[in-house]
C-alpha cells in the first residue's frame, strides 16, 4: 500500500514523544486513507452529500469494503444532519462514536462516527480531525445514542464536546486526572504516584518522562 502523499505536518509543539520503552520508529502520523479505486462507483448518498454540502467533504476513502468520508471538524453537525435526514442516506442508527489519538499531528484526534441505515442496510464511517482543546459539536441532538459514546470519548481522550447534555466522565471516577487512552498516558496508570499526590501525578509523571529522554 503506497503511503498516501501527505503534505508534511507542521511539527507538533511538543517534541515528538518516544514511548518510555526503547524509542520506536517515528510515531505514525495518521491512518493511510486509500483513495477509492478508479472503477468503484461512488455510492449515491456520498454524491448527494457532496452536492448538498459543497465544501463539507474533504476526502473520500474506500478500503476492504468500507466507505469513509473525511470532513473538517467544523462541519460535523450539518453533515450528520444531512446523513440522517436525506432520503437516500437515512443513517438513523449511530452504532459507534470513537476516536484515535495521533499525538504528533496538530489536529491530534480522529473522531470516527460509524453510521448504519436500518432502511437501506448500508454502512458509512465519517471521520473528523480535531485538535486537543478544539471544541467539537456533539451529535447527541441528532442521534441520542451518541450521548454515552461521546461521554466515553471525552472520558478516554479529553475531546472537548460542545453542546453535550451531560458531559461527565463515564468509566473513570469523576475526579480522575488525565485521559487514559491517550498515547502519552502511561500504560500502568498512576501506580504509586497516586498515593503521594493524587491531584497532579500526571504532570509529575510526564515531567519525569521528559527528563528520561534528555
Amino acid at each position: 500500500m503506497a503511503e498516501a502523499p501527505k503534505p508534511p505536518e507542521p511539527v507538533a509543539t511538543t517534541a515528538p514523544k518516544a514511548a518510555a520503552h526503547p524509542p520506536k520508529a517515528a510515531a505514525p502520523i495518521g491512518p493511510p486513507d486509500q483513495p477509492p479505486p478508479a472503477d468503484k462507483p461512488l455510492p449515491a448518498f456520498i454524491a448527494s452529500l457532496q452536492a448538498a454540502l459543497p465544501g463539507a467533504v474533504s476526502q473520500i476513502s474506500f478500503w476492504v469494503g468500507d466507505w469513509t468520508i473525511i470532513i473538517p471538524a467544523a462541519r460535523i453537525l450539518d453533515v450528520a444532519q444531512h446523513l440522517r435526514n436525506a432520503p437516500d442516506a437515512s443513517f438513523d442508527f449511530c452504532s459507534d462514536v470513537t476516536a484515535t489519538d495521533w499525538p504528533p499531528r496538530a489536529e491530534r484526534f480522529d473522531i470516527i462516527y460509524c453510521l448504519y441505515s436500518t432502511r437501506y442496510r448500508h454502512r458509512v464511517r465519517v471521520k473528523a480531525k480535531a485538535g486537543e482543546l478544539e471544541p467539537v459539536a456533539s451529535v447527541t441532538g441528532i442521534w441520542p445514542a451518541a450521548d454515552w459514546l461521546e461521554r466515553e470519548v471525552y472520558d478516554m481522550f479529553g475531546v472537548n464536546f460542545v453542546g453535550h447534555p451531560d458531559r461527565r466522565r463515564i468509566l473513570m471516577p469523576e475526579d480522575w486526572q488525565g485521559f487514559p487512552q491517550r498515547k502519552d498516558y502511561p500504560l500502568e496508570g498512576p501506580g504509586e504516584l497516586l498515593m503521594e499526590n493524587p491531584l497532579d501525578w500526571l504532570k509529575l509523571r510526564q515531567a519525569r518522562d521528559e527528563a528520561d529522554i534528555e
Binding site: P31, W63, V64, G65, S95, A145, E152, L171, L187
Partner: protein, 366 residues
C-alpha cells in the same frame, strides 16, 4: 420520619439484581421513579488500552473477558475484523464451526438471561432449569477448546484445532434435548398470569425511538425493527443458513422475552443445519506466521446475544500491536436506554427492565 415523597434510593453496585457492578441512582416519588442516573465503570479494566500493547494473537484472550457470558462470540468478532483487515480468506469448514459455536454461545447466554430475568421477577425454578441446560453447552465447549468460560476458541484465519470426533453428534444430541427444555421454560412463564402482569406493558419503547437510542439486538427487535447483523451483513457461514428473525410488536418487556425465546429455537435450527452440513477441508487459511495487518482501519460488526458487537481496529502496518482497538459493546448502548425506559415505573419494574435489557457489566465497562 422522613418526607416520603422525595427519596433518593441507591440501587448500589452490590444490589443482588443488577447483574454485576451496576449502580442506578433512583429519584423516587413514593414508589414511582421520577428520574435515574446509571453509574458504570466499576468493572473498567482498560482492555482497549491494554490491547494496544499486546500483539494480535494475545488480544484474543482479552476479548474473552469482555462479555464473559458469550466469550466465543467476542473471539469470532475480533478474529473476523482482523481477517477483514488482512483480507484473509477463511476456509468454509472453519466458517461453519464458527457459526455453530456462535449459536451455541447464543443459547448459553439466553439460558443465563432467562434464568436471571425470571429469578428477578420471582420465579426461582426457571433459573435452575436454565442452568442445567447451560451446563450441557459448557461441556460441548470444554470438549472443543478445553475451557468453560474464557474459551480462547479462535485464531486469526480459522480455528485453533479441529472439532474432536463425535463432537457434532453430541451437538445434535444436545439440540434434541434443548427443544423439549425450551417448551418447559415456556410452560412455566409464557402463559403465567403473574408473569404477564409483571412484564406486559412495562418499559415500552417504539421502534424509531429504539433505533435513535442505539439499542440493538433483542431490545431493538422487540420494538419491531427487523435489524439482525446475521441477516443484514452475513458473516461466517450465516449466508448459507436458513433462519428467520423474530420481531416483537409492542416493544415491552414481554415482547423482548418472546423474541429471545424464539431466538432459542432459531439458533437450534441453525446449529442443526450447520452440524449436518459441515464440509470437509482445512481449518486455517493462509496465515503468515507473524501477523502484521497492512496499515489501515476498519469497523466490523457481528450479532452477539445482546446486540450488535462491533470492533474498530486501526493498524499502522509496521508494529505487531494494533494502533487503536475499540469495541462497540451492545450492552453499553442498550444500558443507555435504561434511563428512558424506567422513567415513570415502579422500583419492581426497574429490576425487571434491567433483566429484560440483558446487560453484562464486563462488556459495558471493558
Amino acid at each position: 420520619m422522613f418526607d416520603t415523597n422525595e427519596l433518593v434510593l441507591n440501587m448500589g453496585p452490590q444490589h443482588p439484581s443488577t447483574h454485576g457492578v451496576l449502580r442506578v441512582v433512583l429519584r423516587l416519588d413514593g414508589e414511582k421513579v421520577v428520574d435515574s442516573d446509571v453509574v458504570i465503570g466499576y468493572l473498567h479494566r482498560g482492555i482497549e488500552k491494554l490491547s494496544e500493547n499486546r500483539n494480535w494473537t494475545q488480544i484474543i484472550l482479552l476479548t474473552d473477558r469482555m462479555d464473559y457470558v458469550a466469550a466465543a462470540i467476542n473471539n469470532v468478532g475480533y478474529c473476523e475484523t482482523v481477517e477483514k483487515l488482512m483480507s484473509l480468506e477463511v476456509p468454509r469448514r472453519a466458517r461453519y464451526v464458527r457459526t455453530i459455536l456462535c449459536e451455541l454461545q447464543r443459547i448459553a447466554s439466553h439460558c443465563l438471561w432467562v434464568g436471571t430475568h425470571a429469578m428477578d421477577i420471582g420465579a426461582m425454578t426457571v433459573f435452575l432449569y436454565a442452568f442445567r441446560e447451560r451446563e450441557l453447552i459448557l461441556d460441548l465447549f470444554e470438549e472443543f477448546c478445553g475451557a468453560r468460560l474464557t474459551y480462547n476458541s479462535m485464531r486469526i484465519g480459522g480455528l485453533p484445532l479441529d472439532i474432536p470426533p463425535g463432537w457434532d453428534k453430541k451437538v445434535l444430541e444436545f439440540c434434541k434435548i434443548m427443544d423439549s427444555k425450551i417448551d418447559e421454560y415456556e410452560e412455566l412463564l409464557t402463559h403465567n398470569r403473574i408473569w404477564l402482569e409483571r412484564t406486559r406493558g412495562i418499559g415500552v419503547i417504539s421502534g424509531p425511538h429504539a433505533v435513535a437510542l442505539g439499542l440493538s439486538g433483542p431490545p431493538l427487535r422487540g420494538s419491531g425493527v427487523p435489524r439482525d447483523v446475521r441477516k443484514d451483513e452475513p458473516y461466517a457461514a450465516y449466508d448459507e443458513m436458513q433462519f428467520d428473525v423474530p420481531i416483537g410488536l409492542a416493544g415491552d418487556t414481554y415482547d423482548r422475552y418472546l423474541v429471545r425465546m424464539e431466538e432459542f429455537r432459531q439458533s437450534l435450527r441453525i446449529i442443526r443445519q450447520g452440524t449436518e452440513g459441515i464440509p470437509e477441508g482445512p481449518i486455517v487459511g493462509k496465515v503468515p506466521r507473524l501477523i502484521k495487518p497492512p496499515a489501515g482501519e476498519t469497523y466490523h460488526a457481528i450479532e452477539s446475544p445482546k446486540g450488535e458487537l462491533g470492533y474498530f481496529i486501526v493498524s499502522d502496518g509496521k508494529s505487531t500491536n494494533p494502533y487503536r482497538f475499540r469495541v462497540r459493546p451492545p450492552s453499553f448502548c442498550n444500558l443507555q436506554g435504561l434511563r428512558t425506559l424506567i422513567k415513570g415505573h415502579l422500583i419492581a419494574d426497574v429490576v425487571a427492565l434491567i433483566g429484560s435489557l440483558d446487560v453484562v457489566l464486563g462488556e459495558v465497562d471493558r
